[in-house]
């Protein structure tokens, strides 16, 4: 094992997509080879910046675009400082110093600056949006489009449904415009040049694009030079050179980016447009790499992820001693991520000496294609409308293929090449191995087919995990699926899932389905009928199967204690020294003098070392000896307390706030509802732990909006939330819907819990289940379909008949006595 002190220290400045990929590759190649620390000025984990546009338009949530959740850093032993901006690099001492960014304006930073030492340093500071210094550019309401904060600010501004002006008609500007329009704003795009996206599109395609944006209700003004942004305390309008004045509640400037090279420059590294690196991605200090949009390689800086990911591969190889791997920039293709608008461009399409062009216009369908050829080879591609052949043309371009033979039909695409129309599957099959399928990640068809064959991949997720194809912007997902289909034939099942564990090839859902279909009611039977490969399962499948059987056959299936994790077997939480903690229920977080007195007595009587308030509004007694558990419970039972199930994949806590009885803002009896819910749900087993909270008003003092299920009381009733997370991942809840009465709230929550019990995979929290099956599907069944809701609710109520028995009292009465006593105390004669 590598000892921490022997490990080299790798420090990374910036936590964007480029270094994220480099670390992934590094860990794949040589896990444990470096002690890694990352500083990120943004107060968050690594996410897919490309996908901010779908977040802005509301098609995705931020959680869906996270690349590495907090858990990833924990699992890989990486220290991530969020909201920490590196302010200096000392190349002599080999240290970097970082300051913590204050969370609100005028607030002092939360922590003092820190310095850490490095052996190797990666500078990956990305780039900053350019803000044109017109008068008024610093007014509140003027935003750039670069990170999640910008998106959140835009979403907030969009709530007013007012006017937005986007300055810049390039890729980012148009994605911002489309997103803001989806959010209900009236949007005008100002563009300096005569046609949109002139760097990627020729004028003809630029016009088509403008027409379809206008058809959607976005105003476009070309040749528009911004003179000033006007407003008193915030933006009110934008004034053009032409004298035209456009009212604006929000201005987004998307006019370009500039590499962030200041930090490197101050450290004395060579900087030109970006930080100058050689083809091993080293700066002129051999211990320091630069990577991503901040780096300048071969005199070029880059603004699309494909070349940045290539840089990442090189850095990972270099860090693990493979010094032959070097960076070479290659052509990249551009797509616009606006739903319903397809365009594709690559290469060079300016007119010039010796260049020919082939153009196809299909007015009826709004298609336009233009190929620019030189010496019988494709050097530029512009496509608008049907872009399916983009990858094929791009492959011909990258491989420098002489297209003389297929010139006649070339423009019609691959289907017609050679005159014979092919079906889409055959077209994919006909792509050469070198054809690039995923532009973002530079993955060729051969990489995908090789991985499918070599690693036995069966699903889109598998391919994403192993090759990264379609894992970034996702526009090539269809192609990847075609490849899977072409290669696996009928064996490709888009719904294929990973097996539960090494004991079976079946996935969780299949096992559950078969348990119901074959009416399997015991663990040995599951293993027999479903052909388990081991004699009695393993620590992964047994607890899962035990849960599935229990949830499917309430009252019939007999719980298998030996298949439960120790905490659930002895109804207390094991601690690092082998002692246990005891957490009684404290319904809705409310207690009384007699309960507190009983707890105090128990603590003294059994000499319990620590008593602590938990994060779940109740009291934890830690360090109880296993032999004392029964006596401790007996005393707590006598005072009316039952097990709090702090150990269970089942109902844990229902947190509440004081609510209407005391609070001047309370709208309903949140404490009372919380207690009712806890009394209704306690004892139930669920796929993973289940935590609730009820807040008396939207101030949300019970933190209901990050719970598995939450209730926010409002004047008109109860807003039911679900699918929050505040553990390894952080995620706000989704609103399930509103109900008018406590009875309805309880019915909805009971039905929701039951649906989760029936569909959730073991250890899958509600938010993950909801993401897998779709929030909308859940809402339809629980809220819209009353009959279905009642069915679910009744099944839940039935199963509770067998669940609401206090496990502590049962054990005090003698159940599982063997768990709590040693088998014997050996009395040995002294050994000879």
């Amino acid at each position: 094992m590598v000892n921490n002190c022997d490990k080299k220290r790798l420090v990374v400045v910036g936590n964007g997509m480029a270094p994220g990929r480099a670390l992934e590759r590094l860990i794949e190649r040589a896990p444990d080879s470096y002690d890694i620390t990352i500083f990120n000025a943004e107060p968050r984990v690594n996410y897919d910046r490309i996908m901010l546009s779908p977040v802005l338009s509301g098609e995705k949530s931020f959680e869906e675009i996270v690349i590495h959740g907090d858990g990833w850093y924990v699992q890989n032993g990486i220290t991530l400082y969020k909201g920490a901006k590196v302010t200096g690099i000392d190349r002599i001492a080999k240290t970097v110093t970082a300051e913590f960014v204050a969370s609100g304006s005028g607030q002092a930073p939360l922590q003092p600056p820190i310095s850490v030492e490095y052996d190797k340093l990666i500078v990956a500071t990305g780039s900053s949006p350019i803000i044109i210094p017109v008068p008024g550019h610093d007014l509140p309401g003027v935003l750039a489009y670069r990170d999640l904060d910008d998106v959140n600010a835009m979403l907030l501004a969009a709530k007013s449904k007012g006017n937005a002006v986007v300055i810049g008609g390039g890729l980012l500007g148009l994605e911002a415009a489309a997103g803001l329009m989806e959010q209900g704003m009236s949007v005008t795009v100002l563009h300096l040049m005569p046609t949109l996206m002139e760097r990627q599109l020729d004028p003809a395609a630029g016009h088509l694009l403008q027409r379809s944006l206008e058809a959607r209700g976005i105003d476009v003004i070309t040749r528009a030079n911004t003179k000033a942004i006007v407003g008193d305390n915030k933006v009110e309008a934008v004034e053009l050179d032409s004298g035209q004045v456009l009212p604006a509640d929000l201005v987004v400037m998307a006019v370009g980016i500039r590499p962030n090279s200041g930090l490197a420059e101050a450290a004395g590294l060579a900087v030109n447009r970006g930080i100058v690196v050689d083809n091993s991605m080293r700066t002129d200090d051999p211990e320091i790499f630069a990577l991503g949009e901040c780096a300048e390689a071969d005199g070029e800086v880059f603004g699309l992820v494909a070349p940045l990911y290539e840089m990442a591969n090189v850095v990972a190889a270099q860090l693990t001693g493979e010094e032959s791997k070097s960076f070479k920039s290659s052509a990249t293709a551009t797509k616009l991520k606006v739903t319903g608008i397809n365009l594709y461009s690559a290469g060079d399409f300016a007119e010039g000496e010796g260049r020919e062009e082939i153009v196809l216009r299909d007015g009826a369908r709004g298609n336009y294609r233009r190929l620019v050829l030189k010496d019988n080879k494709i050097i530029g591609i512009v496509m608008y409308g049907d872009t399916a052949d983009g990858a094929w043309f791009f492959d011909l371009l990258k491989r420098d293929v002489d297209v003389s033979d297929m010139r006649e039909t070339l423009i019609f695409g691959q289907n017609y090449a050679g005159g014979i129309p092919l079906d889409p599957g055959a077209a994919v099959a006909a792509l050469p191995d070198e054809a690039e399928v995923c532009g973002c990640n530079g993955v060729c068809k051969g990489d995908i087919t090789g991985a499918i064959a070599g690693l036995g991949l069966k699903s889109l997720d598998d391919v994403r995990a192993h090759t990264k194809a379609s894992a970034s912007c996702g526009t090539c997902t269809g192609l990847v699926e075609q490849i899977l289909k072409a290669q696996l034939g009928d064996a490709y099942n888009p719904a294929v899932v990973t097996p539960m564990c090494g004991c079976t090839d079946l996935g969780h859902d299949e096992v559950r389905r078969l348990i119901v279909a074959k009416e399997i009611k015991s663990l040995p039977d599951v293993m027999q009928q479903l052909e388990w490969k081991t004699s009695c399962g393993c620590a992964k499948c047994r607890p899962a199967l035990n849960y599935y059987l229990l949830a499917t056959w309430p009252g019939e299936y007999e719980d298998d204690n030996q298949s439960r994790f120790i905490n659930e077997r002895v109804h207390a939480n094991i601690q690092k020294d082998g002692t246990y903690s005891v957490v009684p229920r404290m319904w809705g977080g409310v207690t009384s003098a007699s309960e507190l007195r009983a707890i105090a007595d128990v603590v003294e009587k059994f000499d319990i070392p620590t008593v602590k308030c938990t994060g779940g509004q109740r009291i934890d007694m830690l360090g109880v000896k296993k032999e004392d558990l029964l006596a401790v419970w007996a005393d707590l039972n006598a005072a009316g307390m039952v097990s709090g199930a702090a150990y269970a994949k089942g109902l844990r806590t229902v947190k509440t706030c004081v609510g209407k009885d005391w609070c001047r803002f309370g709208t309903q009896d949140s404490t009372g509802l919380g207690i009712k819910l806890e009394k209704f749900l306690w004892g139930s087993w669920t796929p993973a732990k289940l935590k609730l909270a009820v807040s008396g008003c939207p101030r949300n003092c019970a933190e209901a909006t990050c719970k598995d299920i939450g209730v926010i009381c409002v004047d008109s009733g109860y807003e039911i939330h679900f699918g929050g997370a505040a553990g390894l991942d952080i995620k706000g809840t989704e609103v399930l819907g509103n109900v008018a009465s406590e009875e309805e709230a309880i019915e909805v929550i009971g039905a929701l819990t039951q649906l989760y019990r029936e569909q959730g995979r073991y250890l899958e929290r509600i938010y993950k289940w909801a993401k897998r099956v779709g929030t909308e599907k859940i809402r339809e069944q629980i809220l819209d379909d009353r009959e279905r809701r009642v069915e679910l609710y009744e099944r839940f109520v039935y199963s509770q008949k067998f669940a609401q028995i206090d496990p502590w009292a049962e054990r005090v009465a003698g159940k599982d006595a063997h768990e709590f006593q040693p088998m014997s105390v050996a009395t040995m004669e002294a050994a000879e």
Binding site: S535, A539, I566, K576, G578, H818, P822, M823, A831
Partner: protein, 113 residues
Amino acid sequence: MNAEIRTWTPVGTIDDIPRRGARCVKNGDMTIAVFRTVDDQVFALEDKCPHQNGPLSQGIVHDNCVTCPLHNWVISLETGCAQGADEGQTNNFPVRVQDGQVYLDLTFNKSTS
């Protein structure tokens, strides 16, 4: 290992131990976990995981292994060795079962001999 000289100490009956489970035997300061597999084999290990001393007796027993309750290392009941990528070994003791009685040789530590 040549002549078999054993000091067998009776510690209970096989029925005292649940199948796919374990019970503890206290021997001075040491705790020994006695395991019973699904097919009634009995094994004895010191109740200390080679990783961070987790009580193996509290783990889930599957085939001839136990998964430690603290951080899920899988330990072989036969050898006391950690399986897979993890490294380490727990002391293990000879066991004899006769007429349902379980005997341990507490003087004999297979792992170190």
